[in-house]
Symmetry: C2
Amino acid sequence: MITPTTYPTRIEQQDTDFTFRASISTMICSVLNVAGLDANAKGFGVSDLNVDNHTWVLSRLAIELDYLPAKFETFDIETWISSYNRLISTRNFILTNQSGTKFGEATSQWCMLDLKERKAVDLSSLHENYGKYVLGDLNSTIARPKKLAPLTHPTKEHTHQAAYSDIDFNRHVNALRYLDLMLDMVPFENLALSRALRVDLQYVQECYYGDNLTVRYQKEGNVTMFEILRNQTNIAVKCQIEWF
Amino acid sequence: MITPTTYPTRIEQQDTDFTFRASISTMICSVLNVAGLDANAKGFGVSDLNVDNHTWVLSRLAIELDYLPAKFETFDIETWISSYNRLISTRNFILTNQSGTKFGEATSQWCMLDLKERKAVDLSSLHENYGKYVLGDLNSTIARPKKLAPLTHPTKEHTHQAAYSDIDFNRHVNALRYLDLMLDMVPFENLALSRALRVDLQYVQECYYGDNLTVRYQKEGNVTMFEILRNQTNIAVKCQIEWF
């Protein structure tokens, strides 16, 4: 019987920020690493897809955390594919601490891209090998990633030209680098508080080396909203952080 | 008998750049991680020193590589303390690939800092527990890190304000982040070539959140030189890359 797989994770010193806790980027990075490991282990990772010139592309992600784990804390990330249709495969995660308490959940939506045609691949072509790993929602209670609206009255803006250290092996700006650029807009003192939070991320368009990324920031009560414009025109990434 | 310790290392997908090889940052990060692991394992890591409010601070580093390893390549990093005096402890590294061929070497110089007094600690106080781990140069042939001169005629300059994603748990700009900012000045096409190289890094002064980092670039033949000014005045970091 196919069941979710659990990956033990540990917060190393280099994963922490000035609060001696994992940063939000570290936590999302951990979840994405586990997604990659699990897909590889089951034969549909990026290396397997590359044979056909296909790759996974993260479209949306939501993560909810009761707290950010401290330095050297260990926890388990349980992951499985919950559903898929022709365009989107959804992978869920449950994070459990060493006392056996669930302290976080995440859900991610992925498209498959044909690198040659630069077009989405119909996921029904995966049917046989993939379908057996699809387990439904199980113990997952997290709401699916939100569709985020454009900002109405951004109060801060910062422009950064995408450089070598921002791009990944695909020559795109790295998914986590967008997040870093957005978190860099949050006042330092707000990042010092360890609070429960929910992050919604929506990747709309890829950005490349040399592109101008304009990061916009807007705050409404306990919700911080961001968007990144590619070359002053199209929205490339949207993000929202709710602090509880 | 105390001998050098060997740490197996593997280049994961997220460690590679657009050339599908490890980036220079990845290689230096691997070496620094091994330094941390080895010091921890032997009882004089950052966590041990923190008890006395001390920490290790990287002062200079040199690395020589015949090539940058490809994605999923595995190799061994052998490390040991080669010498120390009152101010500086020197740790060396030899990198050996899966065919048993040495393809790289590194050497690093560390000071110990008293975090309360913000002053260097006299390393002779470590004598008893530390001295037995000091093994001399052994098979190391790399020249010690160079003392680098200020740039005479920089041809490019870029200013970046140190943000949340640039700083580490110490509230300083991360040692590798300086390197990224400098490599971001190198023309993209130069980074596409996999060549033997030597990097010399010299950390002169710490930079903090909000500081203006001015990155300067100068090229002379096969040598690329960089320096980072803190708030338009003092040189904080110097670096030189020789491409062979």
